[in-house]
Subunit: 333 residues, 2 copies
C-alpha cells in the first residue's frame, strides 16, 4: 500500500487554510465561515480528497465501526438479525465487522479480542452460549455490548429477546389442545442460556402442569440432517407433537416424516421457533413462533448507538412481542 495520495494537509495548502479548518469542514463543524467552507469544499472536490478513517479513528478514538459476533452466517436466523442491525447501523453511519465463530480455527475469545483490538465502538453478540472467557472479555472492556436473541444469566448485559418461556408454553399448549399428549422438545446446544434457562424449563413446567410424565428432550440437533435422522427416534418414542428451536432441524424432521409416508400434522405436529423463510416454503408450511428477528436486530443496534454515545437507556433488557403463526403443520382445532 502506498502513501495516501491526497491528505488533509494537501487540501489545507491548496485552500490556503490550516488543516484544522479543513478538518472542521470535513466534520461539519459549523464554526467555519461560509466562504471558507465553500473554498475548502471546492478544493476537496477538485483533489478528490477522502478522509482516512484509520487516522480519524486514532485521533478521535471512535471508529464508527461495530462488531457482530455470530455463529454462522448461512443460518437465516442470524442473517435476519444481522439485516436489522445492518439497516440501523447504516442509518447511524456505522460499518459492521462480522465474525463467525462456529467450527473455527479461532476461539471465540480470540475473535472478540480481535474485534476489540480493532477498536470497534460497540459489539452485538448473537451467539447463544457466552463462555466464561467471553464474559470476562466483555467485562474487562469498556466497549458497550448488546446481546441480540440471547441472554446471559450471570452478568446483566443489555439484551433484546422475546419471552421464550411464554412463547414455548403457548406453542405446547396449541399442540396439547389438538389432542397431542406425547410432546417433545428438540434443541441445539442444551447449554445455550436460552435453552437451559428458558426453553427447557418452560417445557418441563408444561409437562408438570399437565401431569405428563414422559419427558422427551432431544439435544444437539443442529441442522437439517440432524433433524432428518432424528425422526425415526421420534417415532420410536411415540412422539406426536414436537417443538423445535431451529427451522432447518424442523424441516429435516418434516421431510423425514413425509419421506416415510407419514402425515403432518395428523401423525406428528411440528412447531418451530424462528420463522425464517425456510419454514414457510416447505409443504405443509410449518407453524412457527414468529420471532421479530429483523426488529430484534434493529432494536439491539439502536440501543447500542445510545450506549456508544453515553445516552441514557431506560430499559436494557428488552422483550419484543412474538406471534404464534399457525400454519399447516398443526391441526389448530
Amino acid at each position: 500500500m502506498h502513501k495516501q495520495e491526497v491528505t488533509i494537509y494537501d487540501v489545507a495548502r491548496e485552500a490556503k487554510v490550516s488543516m484544522a479548518t479543513v478538518s472542521r469542514v470535513v466534520n461539519g463543524n459549523n464554526n467555519v465561515r461560509k466562504e471558507t467552507r465553500d473554498k475548502v469544499m471546492e478544493v476537496i472536490k477538485r483533489l478528490h480528497y477522502q478522509p482516512n478513517a484509520v487516522a480519524q479513528g486514532l485521533a478521535s478514538k471512535r471508529t464508527t465501526t461495530v462488531g457482530l459476533v455470530v455463529p454462522d452466517l448461512t443460518n437465516l436466523y442470524f442473517a435476519e438479525l444481522s439485516k436489522g442491525i445492518d439497516d440501523i447501523a447504516l442509518l447511524y453511519k456505522y460499518n459492521i465487522i462480522i465474525t463467525s465463530i462456529e467450527n473455527r480455527l479461532m476461539k471465540e475469545e480470540q475473535a472478540i479480542q480481535s474485534l476489540l483490538n480493532k477498536q470497534v465502538d460497540g459489539v452485538i453478540y448473537m451467539s447463544n452460549r457466552l463462555s466464561d472467557k467471553t464474559l470476562e472479555a466483555f467485562e474487562r472492556t469498556n466497549t458497550p455490548v448488546v446481546l441480540a436473541g440471547t441472554k446471559d444469566n450471570h452478568t446483566d448485559l443489555p439484551s433484546v429477546t422475546i419471552d421464550y418461556k411464554k412463547a414455548d408454553t403457548e406453542a405446547l399448549n396449541l399442540m396439547f389442545n389438538d389432542g397431542k399428549k406425547n410432546l417433545a422438545m428438540v434443541v441445539g446446544d442444551p447449554n445455550a442460556v436460552v435453552n437451559s434457562e428458558y426453553r427447557i424449563p418452560a417445557y418441563k413446567q408444561f409437562l408438570k402442569d399437565h401431569n405428563i410424565s414422559e419427558e422427551h428432550i432431544y439435544t444437539n440437533i443442529k441442522d437439517y440432517s440432524d433433524g432428518y435422522n432424528l425422526y425415526s427416534q421420534l417415532v420410536k418414542d411415540g412422539v406426536d407433537g414436537v417443538i423445535v428451536t431451529r427451522d432447518s432441524s424442523a424441516v429435516g424432521i418434516l421431510n423425514s416424516a413425509i419421506d416415510a409416508g407419514r402425515n403432518v400434522p395428523e401423525d406428528l405436529e411440528i412447531v418451530t421457533a424462528s420463522a425464517t423463510q425456510i419454514a414457510s416454503v416447505v409443504r405443509p408450511a410449518l407453524t412457527t413462533i414468529k420471532q421479530p428477528l429483523y426488529d430484534m436486530g434493529a432494536v439491539a443496534m439502536r440501543m447500542l448507538t445510545k450506549l456508544m454515545n453515553n445516552e441514557e437507556v431506560d430499559d436494557t433488557n428488552i422483550e419484543l412481542p412474538y406471534e404464534l403463526l399457525k400454519k399447516q403443520s398443526t391441526l389448530n382445532q
Copy 2:
C-alpha cells in the same frame, strides 16, 4: 471512549526496553534475543497489553481488513459465498466488513467509498450489477478488488465464477430431452452482467439451435412472491419448462404450481441456478445448477490475499466446475 489503558510504551518502560523492541516482539520479528522476548512477553501478559489495531493500521498502512459488498445478507446465495470468504479470511487473519447495498439509503458508490476510506486492504464484490460509478471507484483506487459470482465486461477485474452459458445450456437441454419444448427463463435484474451477457444469450442461442421460435424471458423476478405470482403467467404462456436464476423465485413458482393443483415436473419442469438449502428442502426438491458457492468465495478470498501481498496471480478469471444436480423437479428421462 477513554484513552487506551495500556500502550506499547507502558510495556516498554516496564520491561526496560524500547518500544521498537516491544513492537518487534508483538509482530513476531525474530531479531530479538530470547531473554528479551521472554521478558517482554511476560510484561505483556501481566499488563494485559493488547495492540491497538487502528494505530497499527495507520503506521503500517495495512488494516488486515477486507470489505465485502453484497446486495442482501439474507439471501442464502450470498451468505454461502460469504462463508467461503470468511473462512479463508480467518485463515489469513483478516477481518471482514460487510456492506449490504440493496434498498438502501446509501448509494453503492458511497458504500464502497466508505469501505475504501476505512483503508480496507482489499474488496470482494458480489453484487451483480457494477454501476459505472462503482467501476470508476474501483479503477481509481489501488486497493485490489475481486468479483465473486459476477463478472464485468468493461474492465477486466479479477473474478471467480462458473461457466454460466454452459451450465444454462445443459439445464435447458435436460428439459428439452424430457420433451419440454416451451422453455422459459426467469431472471432477476436483466441488466446484471451475468444475465445480460451469459444467461440470456445462452437461452437465446439454445432456442435458435433447436429452432424454437417462442421466446419467454421473464425479468425482475426477485423473490419468493414474485415467483409465486409469476406462475399464472407461465401457465397462460404455455410454458412447460423453466430455468430460474434465484432459488427463492423458483420455490415461489413451485409452490404456486402445487397450490394450483398442478404437478411438478409433469406439468412444469423447474431448474434453479444456485443450489442453496432452500432448493433442496422443498418437495419436490428442485433440480439445480449447483454452483460451488462456498468454494467460489474461498477461491476469491484466496486470490485477494495474493493480490494484497503483490504476489503473482496466474489466472485472474477463474471458472470453477459446477454440477447439474438432478432432483425431483425434472423428469430426467
